[in-house]
Symmetry: C2
Subunit: 272 residues, 2 copies
């Protein structure tokens, strides 16, 4: 590559970091990509980290030692986080979202790339320190949220399905009881989808009884894996006792009144 | 926000653009966010665009007129594109991917955020000019690819499902014949998922007979929408005649030999 000036190096480095969150770049690799001395690059990186701190975009940090390098971790400032949560509450309480049966239509939110990215930012701030090896979710609605969280953490996504598919080889099946409907459901995961002794971060859009989350614990056991964290966008207030104890939710759905169209959603307690 | 210096503004702008591909920012909005004069910002943006051209990261372009502003469109250089395709061929031809029945295991590829992002870059370069309003896919395996393409184009994703779910309100159902297995399948999409007269970009991981793609055409008709493009990661060589004529595939799966473990995958013709 032809030589870049400082301004250009900063643009190139910033785009490299933000496109590859969680990825560790050695200074030697960066030096080769950009054709600049390591000392020069260290100064560039300081400027980017300082800027990111100012604008609440996360950190670009140097990790010392033989396995060291530079890594970008997306972040979200306290202010931004409360803005996102406020936006979601207002948007999700709109009357026209109530569908027959007293359910809440939210596909336009949980499939919207911009909104999903902001929610994933919050999951990442919350769970980056628990060092997960995989993000895991159950098809279908939570996939965009789980995928974006995996992208920001730079780890693979694993999708658990409800039916066996011949194209994916042998699989492990777990039966679990849905926490709300009390029906028996099946979870299927190909045997080669997870390495043994891995740490899993379970991400989903919605939690009612917590049956799915409990199923993930069962499945993890079958693969000698551990659930390192559970994050959902929205949990219902009732039943208060979920089938899993430890989980993080952004929002709590208190009630939906099909007659009046009144929806009551609030930030979950742990964020108050 | 406190005043930023040029280097810092470039870092802030680059991160803003790469985190919001496809989004139109007015110079006034940027001027407000960054506390700098529009003329200064125009110079910053020129530097970023020049750098992106040099490193093959896409373009940051000014759109003139009343509805104008600045927009980042991710891109992939010819060289990078052939590198990605070569990487995928080598990776997907590994013997251990053959599973019982002569299928190809590729979940680790199509759920890997870094690889998915690079493939989505290619779809975006190919389809950005067709001006889609939505990316559409059918659950489950194509969702990460479709979601990332939607993110880079800054348009919503729509996921078609196989079963009706009560929580999403009324829906439109379409029956279609699977192109390969000749069985009748159902596609379900909530009525409020798509605005009438929209342009849809169909993205999927795999195409064999083309039945799913044809089903999407049927479904589009029910919503008075139009299919603006079809992109798949990998198509099979046989049957040569698919149920849809116009589609783009990165790779062609020529054959899988279950006995010997030999897999033959090549870049699709249109890229040669």
């Amino acid at each position: 590559m032809c030589k870049l000036q400082r301004n250009e190096r900063i643009a190139a480095l910033t785009s490299l970091f933000t496109s590859n969150p969680g990825k560790l770049f050695t200074l030697s690799a960066l030096s080769e990509i950009l054709g600049a001395a390591k000392s020069t690059l260290s100064e560039d990186i300081d400027i980017i980290d300082r800027t990111f701190s100012k604008i609440g975009k996360g950190r670009v940090q140097s990790i010392a030692g033989a396995a060291g390098g530079v890594r970008y971790t997306p972040g979200v400032s306290r202010l931004t986080k409360s803005e996102i949560i406020e936006y979601l509450c207002i948007e999700l309480m709109k009357k026209e979202r109530v569908v027959s049966g007293g359910y809440l239509y939210m596909l336009d939110i949980i499939y919207n790339p911009e909104i999903v990215s902001r929610i994933a930012d919050i999951f990442v701030s919350r769970f980056a320190d628990s060092n997960p090896d995989y993000v895991i979710t159950v098809e279908t609605k939570g996939i965009p949220l789980a995928f974006m969280t995996a992208k920001f953490l730079n780890i693979p996504l694993v999708i658990v399905r409800h039916n066996i598919e011949a194209t994916d080889g042998s699989s492990v099946n777990v039966n679990y009881i849905s926490g709300s409907s009390k029906t028996v459901q099946t979870m299927v995961l190909p045997t080669r989808a997870l390495k043994r002794n891995s740490r899993l971060l379970f991400i989903d859009d919605f939690m009612k009884g917590g049956g799915t989350a409990k199923g993930i614990y069962e499945l993890a056991k079958e693969f000698d894996c551990e659930v390192a964290g559970t994050g959902v966008l929205i949990k219902t207030k009732q039943p208060e006792k979920k089938l899993v104890q430890e989980y993080y939710s952004l929002l709590t759905l208190n009630s939906v009144d099909e007659q009046t169209g009144l929806i009551d959603i609030a930030p979950s307690e742990q964020d108050l």
